[in-house]
């Protein structure tokens, strides 16, 4: 024990950062090693998730407690082109959110796979854990190269998940998914990074951005900004949004994963990170006051995506598809929040990563639970289901409330700060868009909740109860935390505020 204590006391924040990144990799090996013993394998996967979260939480305390410069440089490829990991407030938000949701999703995934009796569970678990590793790499990326590197590999790993069961429609969806994400990242993001390097001779992140002292014309910066924004098409910015509705055909567990934990939040995170640490907020504000095509078009496009996607969502009868469009709407909502570019809106945007993830996770977990328990996929079938599955539908309602931003849910806090930011910058059209989107969200969600709880079932087709406990527990926890974030937003607020 003393040796262990001694060892622990030796650990510095830098080493802890490396340990955090190593845990998922070790976990993958263990999961592979125990593939024959299903129970041990699943327990190992859960323990790995919990360990990752706990170590990140520890790192969070050290970070807040004064270790502000936690950075590790691993490999230098060419001059300036190095793999560097660094802890920042923004990265901490993503890491905390994802690693916490990870515990939930891994339990849920195991429950889901067992009750649907999927094949090749080991490989699936490995891919999930590998994605966690890449998300952590992105969260702690210390320069653009590391970010790009991890982002590309994340796309490949998640692509394997999308086409995991190799049905025809999944292959088609996979093609769209990889085509859009990889295509945009190679043809927009990479040039953006190289141009940045060419202009500023650095690819690292800096407080206040790296463009501050570079004399370049606004239209040139507008090009770089455009390339960056469309480079991360994982936020589904129109017109590169096609992948979001198309991957609906993947298993629900993968949907949860892409929409709530991995791809979309990572996209929001990356663009926020680039806006804050590469282009710099002050610089962007100056840029946005110019002609519309210098930057403010992003807010217009984001606003249009928010409204259009919500309207399309209204037309969908397929529950997953409706939620997919809502997701799209809300991802752009995050972007719009960010590009209001006031102090409050930056806080809102970074807090949004957490709020969005929790709410979306709850919603999609509920959809998965409904599918597992009853096999129902369409909204028209959901009449009276609230009486059969009270826990699931309550959680669904909580997730929906967070999306609409009804207190007491996490979504309300974001909207509060965002509106404060918009008022501060006197962007009236943004406020109009927010009001419209709120109304649209009410129309999207309330009928589902109403018919689930207050209408009678048409015909009793099959007599089902709640989904298995391995599915219901995680989703209840997610719902609880959506509410908890409203009352106790301290951790994320602390981090969000320290960004600026």
């Amino acid at each position: 024990m003393t040796i262990l204590n001694h060892f622990i006391s030796e650990i510095t924040a830098d080493i802890l950062l490396i340990i955090i990144l190593l845990i998922p990799l070790v976990g993958i090996m263990l999961v592979y090693a125990f593939q024959k013993y299903v129970v041990i394998r699943d327990i190992v996967a859960i323990i790995v998730a919990i360990c990752t979260f706990l170590t990140i939480f520890q790192l969070f305390f050290w970070f807040i407690g004064g270790h502000l410069h936690i950075a590790v440089s691993l490999i230098m490829v060419i001059e300036n082109l190095a793999i560097i990991f660094q802890v920042t407030s923004l990265g901490m938000i993503l890491a905390l959110t994802v690693s916490f949701l990870w515990v939930i999703i891994i339990i849920y995934a195991i429950g889901y796979m067992r009750s649907n009796q999927e094949k090749n569970q080991t490989c699936f678990l490995i891919m999930l854990t590998l994605s966690l590793f890449f998300v952590l790499c992105i969260a702690f990326a210390g320069n653009l190269f590391t970010l790009f590197f991890a982002y590309e590999l994340l796309i490949f790993t998640t692509y394997i998940l999308v086409v995991y069961f190799r049905t025809e429609e999944q292959k088609k969806a996979g093609r769209t998914y990889l085509g859009i994400l990889l295509g945009t990242s190679i043809s927009f993001l990479l040039p953006a990074i190289i141009i940045t390097y060419n202009l500023t001779e650095t690819i690292s992140f800096a407080e206040g951005g790296v463009f501050k002292n570079v004399p370049i014309s606004p239209s040139y910066v507008a090009t770089v900004l455009t390339l960056f924004v469309y480079g991360f098409s994982s936020v589904g910015f129109m017109p590169f949004h096609r992948w979001i509705p198309s991957v609906v055909v993947a298993p629900t567990i993968v949907n949860i994963f892409l929409y709530a934990v991995v791809i979309v939040p990572v996209g929001i995170f990356c663009i926020t990170k680039i806006a804050v640490y590469v282009l710099g907020i002050d610089y962007l504000i100056e840029q946005f006051t110019g002609a519309w095509w210098h930057g403010s078009w992003i807010v217009y496009v984001a606003g249009a995506t928010v409204i259009l996607a919500a309207i399309i969502a209204l037309k969908q009868d397929n529950l997953k598809k409706r939620l997919a469009y809502v997701t799209l709407s809300h991802a752009s909502y995050g972007m719009m929040t960010l590009f209001i570019l006031s102090k409050d809106s930056i806080i809102a945007a970074s807090f949004y990563i957490a709020a969005y993830s929790f709410a979306t996770l709850t919603l999609f977990c509920a959809v998965g639970a409904i599918y597992t328990a009853s096999g129902k996929e369409y909204i028209s079938q959901l009449k009276g289901i609230g009486k059969r599955m009270p826990w699931t539908m309550t959680a669904f309602a909580i997730g929906a409330f967070s999306m609409i931003a009804i207190p007491p849910t996490a979504g309300f806090i974001t909207k509060w700060y965002m509106l404060a930011g918009a008022l501060d910058r006197e962007l009236w059209y943004v406020i109009l868009i927010v009001l419209m989107s709120t109304m649209l969200n009410v129309v999207v969600f309330l009928p589902i909740i109403y018919s689930a709880f207050f209408e009678q079932e048409d015909v009793i087709i099959n007599d089902h109860q709640e989904a298995p406990y391995m599915i219901v527990y995680p989703l209840s926890i997610a719902a609880t935390f959506t509410i908890w974030l409203f009352f106790m937003p301290d951790i994320f607020m602390l981090l969000s505020r320290s960004i600026m």
Binding site: V77, F145, F149, E152, L153, R175, I186, L190
Partner: protein, 496 residues
């Protein structure tokens, strides 16, 4: 130590015929390539430590009369490339040649192979234009013979086509050399380049330039003359396609770069009107972009993977020419790094093709169907090479693309940026087709097919290349570090 690199393979190659035993011939080739590889590595280490060119006079005769060997950073890199590719391909050769060529011809095959190998090394280290011509011709003739040994009769016509175009190229080269000799009275590269500045015969020197460059371009099989190259790579034995694509074309590019920068780059002005920089930028730059587009487009439009790999090589030639055509330090560095790195990935893919050919007797997309399950190890290595071709980080391809982008942006050439992006996009489609066929389709006789992994020697070669591709994405001290020196040397007109 330098002449050993040529002498050893030259001596060993007749031995294959003399002994005339298939297995022994392979052993000799294996031994020779690996010894040469070790020597080449020793030379690179020496050069990177001393930072000086190594000069050797054949038989003690000084230049003007004697043949001079000169090993700079650039040639040392090329030596490692040639010997390394040859050495690593040897395990693959063990299985592939057995499949492609009847046993009684094996001895001849390895003789020709070693001749080609020695001659390519000779071109790289020679500092004498005529000697270079001799080695180039030797390498080409051996290559034609090797191509002709392909399984189908079409290999013969392909080899004949290459012979015709190649010979025209050689004649042009020789005529150019003749003009230069007439104008300056020297055939040593350094001598010519020094004397031409003070020479009074401007017209012959310029005509010589045109002939030399035309000759090299014909040999290079760049865009308008590419058809024979693509045919030969398709029908030649896979080992030869892999070896030639990685080395032969690269050596010709090396000759081209030396002609440009060492021969004419010494401040010579054509008719006192244009500088070399002007000429290269106006002619080569658009051509390179056309080659990238044509090569990438053809690569995704043909069904046979071996054939499409040939077009991919064409596209890569375009990237390398683009780097050269920028006539800047970073551009030439990027080109040199690409010469090294693209070879790794394409050779790997040729090996995959060879493995598929061996197992299923065909290399079209149809034959790739379902092999993700049947040959998992082969396909994982194949994916690594494919990712390098797209330019995904953590692979060698990313580094070369990064450097090329840097070089292009440094000069603010936006048209080139767009062309490179288009090329990358098409390479995604290219790779996509392979992966989709391999993993998303069932093999035609999936029920009977059991796991049929490629033979162990093939896997060994393939994985060595795949690992090198990954290593190249992380460790660039030897590739990029030496390439900068080499580029510096070339830009300086071949002076230290």
């Amino acid at each position: 130590m330098i002449p050993l690199l040529v002498v050893i393979p030259l001596l060993f190659s007749p031995l294959c015929v003399v002994i005339y035993h298939a297995r022994t011939a392979w052993c000799i080739a294996l031994l020779t390539t690996w010894i040469s590889f070790v020597i080449a590595i020793l030379i690179v280490i020496e050069i990177s430590q001393t930072n000086q060119v190594i000069i050797y006079h054949m038989g003690g005769w000084l230049p003007s009369y004697g043949i001079e060997y000169k090993v700079s950073h650039f040639s040392a890199l090329l030596m490692v490339l040639i010997t390394g590719v040859g050495a690593i391909l040897m395990p693959f050769a063990y299985s592939s040649v057995k499949h492609d060529i009847p046993t009684r011809k094996h001895a001849f095959f390895y003789t020709a192979f070693l001749l080609c190998f020695a001659a390519l090394l000779g071109v790289v280290m020679s500092n004498d234009l005529f000697n270079m011509y001799v080695f180039l011709e030797m390498a080409s003739l051996a290559a034609y013979a090797l191509i002709a040994m392909g399984k189908t009769p079409k290999a013969l016509t392909a080899a004949f086509g290459s012979l015709i175009i190649g010979s025209i190229g050689t004649v042009f080269y020789l005529i150019g050399l003749g003009f230069l000799y007439a104008a300056t009275g020297a055939i040593n590269l350094t001598d010519i380049s020094q004397r031409m500045i003070t020479s009074l015969y401007d017209i012959p020197i310029m005509t010589g330039f045109i002939f030399l460059v035309m000759g090299v371009f014909l040999k290079l099989a760049s865009f308008p003359f590419h058809s024979w190259l693509c045919k030969s790579y398709t029908y030649a034995p896979t080992l030869i396609s892999a070896f030639l694509s990685a080395t032969f074309v690269k050596v010709i590019l090396y000759v081209l770069m030396r002609v440009f920068f060492e021969l004419y780059g010494n401040g010579y002005e054509f008719l006192s009107l244009f500088s070399l920089e002007n000429i290269i930028r106006t002619v080569l730059y658009p051509l390179a972009m056309v080659i990238i587009i044509v090569g990438s487009y053809m690569a995704i439009s043909v069904q046979d993977i071996k054939n499409s790999l040939a077009y991919l090589c064409l596209a890569h030639m375009g990237y390398i020419l683009l780097g050269i055509s920028l006539v800047s330090l970073s551009g030439i560095t990027a080109s040199i790094v690409q010469i090294l790195y693209y070879s790794l990935a394409t050779t790997g893919l040729f090996i995959v093709c060879g493995a598929i050919l061996m197992r299923f007797n065909g290399s079209s997309l149809m034959h790739f169907r379902g092999i993700g399950q049947l040959m998992p190890l082969t396909m994982v290595a194949c994916i690594i090479c494919c990712l390098s071709i797209i330019g995904v980080p953590a692979t060698a391809g990313f580094i070369s693309k990064w450097l090329l982008f840097q070089a292009v942006l440094e000069l603010g050439k936006w048209d080139a940026v767009i062309v490179i992006l288009l090329g990358s996009f098409m390479s995604i489609i290219y790779v996509w087709r392979i992966i989709e066929a391999a993993y998303f389709y069932e093999h035609p006789n999936a029920i009977t097919a059991v796991r049929m992994e490629a033979p162990l020697p093939v896997l060994l070669s393939l994985w060595l290349f795949a690992l090198l591709v990954i290593l190249g994405g992380f460790h660039t001290e030897y590739s990029y570090g030496i390439a900068t020196h080499a580029a510096d040397f070339l830009i300086g007109g071949g002076n230290e």
